[in-house]
């Protein structure tokens, strides 16, 4: 469909909307019906019992710890990557950008296998870690690393895009006024990219919270240590699918709350 910007606003011609609107509704149904299914089938009356069960308590606590730690780690390591990518021109930058985004498209199980081949006992860094007395596999640290690996790209990409849009003249002005690099970052750059940073953090957290494949591959499945909520849902599904439905519903509510609270804020800006 062509648009003529010079013309005064006119109703677009054609029947495109007859095609697009039903398809949009069909697409919406695809997203909404599974959620309705969960809500309709889950035995909500038993929610209290399920929430009080030790396995669920442990999984909720662990998910909180792992996802928050993963977001923290993503911020500490990911923001500098975004900053370097946005501020410096160097050979291989595009390659690095692609590598950093790779975990977003990689099947999570592959991410888990990759982590094993790097940090597992027989992995590339296995002997080094062993000589340092560090054992990662099957520990909460492994679960955090797995979540960070798959979730950090969301933060990095959001930050990099925002950093590239920051008005460099403001930063330069601050520099001529004698501000140090860190002070410029804190007082000029960060406030400018705050909404994008928040969006990146929200997506990063939601992804870390939902992480399953890399975790079960790299960190295993052990209650209170590596069994986060998604793993608990999967385990419950094998025997007690009513319980699994309720756990899924809890996950759904938490994820929706994160996206709603944080993304809503950003779009307004």
């Amino acid at each position: 469909m062509t648009t003529h910007n010079s013309n005064p606003p006119a109703r677009a011609q054609g029947w495109g909307h007859y095609l697009l609107i039903p398809l949009a509704l069909l697409g919406l149904a695809l997203f909404v019906i599974p959620l309705l299914g969960l809500i309709a089938r889950a035995p909500i009356a038993e929610l209290g019992v399920v929430l009080r069960s030790p396995a669920v308590g442990a999984a909720l606590r662990l998910s909180a710890v792992v996802s928050v730690a993963a977001v923290g780690l993503s911020l500490v390591l990911g923001f500098p990557i975004a900053w370097v990518l946005a501020r410096f021109e160097f050979p291989g930058r595009r390659l690095i950008r692609a590598v950093v985004a790779l975990p977003m498209v990689l099947p999570p199980v592959v991410a888990g296998v990759a982590l094993l081949t790097a940090l597992g006992r027989r992995g590339l860094l296995g002997p080094l870690l062993e000589s340092l007395g560090i054992e990662l596999a099957f520990t909460t640290t492994a679960a955090i690393l797995a979540a960070t690996f798959v979730a950090a790209p969301f933060l990095i990409i959001a930050c990099e895009a925002a950093l590239e849009n920051v008005d460099r003249e403001l930063e330069d002005a601050a520099a001529t006024l004698g501000a140090t690099r860190l002070r410029i970052l804190w007082t000029v750059t960060l406030p400018a990219i705050w909404p994008s940073l928040l969006a990146g953090l929200a997506l990063c957290w939601a992804r870390a919270l939902g992480e399953f494949g890399a975790t079960i591959t790299f960190a295993g499945n052990f209650r209170g240590r590596t069994q986060t909520m998604p793993l608990a849902v999967y385990e419950a599904l094998q025997t007690d699918h009513e319980g699994a439905l309720l756990l899924s519903l809890i996950m759904l509510a938490i994820s929706l709350a994160i996206l709603f609270a944080l993304r809503g804020k950003l779009v307004r800006r």
Partner: protein
């Protein structure tokens, strides 16, 4: 725009053609325990040679997960469970036909080649990293039953092993994978899972830690099917318990039912 419409119609026509094309062959969907992977792939090939009118589709996972899927109405026609308990679960809600035992297996300790772990007692040594299948998984249930064989109440073998337990895997193959990767020092899996793998060795359980063998049972999920499809499923079950099917299972290390 008319061109788009033509394209759309063409796509729809093509899709309709796809569904029509599959009519000549009947599809037998088999939900099979993860430990049966290689054996049932071989059985699939042999069966399809004998019955070109049938197409066997295999879906492997832990039997407990397959049972849950079947209880949720998954379209599996034949269920090959590593544990009669899981078939009972399905049978409580869906009618089963042609149910029978087709093979047996035994739980062993799986270790990386050359490991110093020799007996069940070594699994309880402090600092060992042991991986089992989850309690709901057949291999996990059999393994825990075996550990209960501890002769002295004062020596809490199972407690010692549980302390060393680092992961509850969702099927027996995941247990073997963690041992093969070297991430775990030992696991408990079926003897057939280790067969022909130079990286792994097995340690047989000796009395009093022996349990009755794992029993593999097959059945056709008989509700809501046309008679012809039910018959096809029964033919597959017959084939697995026929001399040919039994020979394939034996070649993959399974015991007779």
């Amino acid at each position: 725009m008319p061109r788009t419409l033509t394209l759309l119609l063409l796509v729809l026509a093509a899709l309709a053609g796809c569904t029509r094309g599959g009519q000549t062959q009947q599809t037998i969907t088999v939900f099979a325990a993860a430990s049966l992977t290689e054996a049932f792939r071989a059985i699939e090939r042999a069966y399809e040679l004998e019955h070109p009118e049938h197409d066997v589709e295999l879906n492997f996972a832990g039997s407990q997960l397959l049972a849950t899927q079947l209880l949720e109405g998954a379209p599996g026609l034949v269920f090959a469970s590593a544990d009669p308990v899981q078939l009972d679960r399905v049978g409580a809600e869906r009618p089963l036909a042609s149910r029978r035992g087709v093979a047996t297996n035994r739980i062993v300790i799986v270790v990386p080649a050359g490991s110093a772990i020799m007996t069940v007692w070594d699994l309880a040594d402090p600092g060992r990293r042991v991986v089992l299948a989850g309690e709901a998984v057949p291999a996990g249930r059999y393994a825990r039953l075996a550990l209960l064989g501890s002769p002295l109440d004062s020596v809490d073998l199972r407690g010692g092993v549980e302390r060393n337990l680092v992961s509850n895997e969702t099927d027996v193959r995941a247990v073997v994978a963690k041992v093969r990767l070297g991430e775990a020092d030992a696991g408990m899996a079926y003897a057939t899972d280790v067969l022909g793998d130079p990286q792994l060795e097995l340690r047989e359980l000796s009395p009093p830690f022996t349990v009755e063998p794992a029993r593999y049972e097959l059945a056709v999920i008989a509700d809501g099917r046309e008679q012809a499809l039910r018959d096809a499923g029964m033919q597959f079950v017959e084939f697995v318990s026929s001399p040919t099917g039994q020979a394939i299972l034996a070649a993959h290390g399974f015991g007779p039912p």
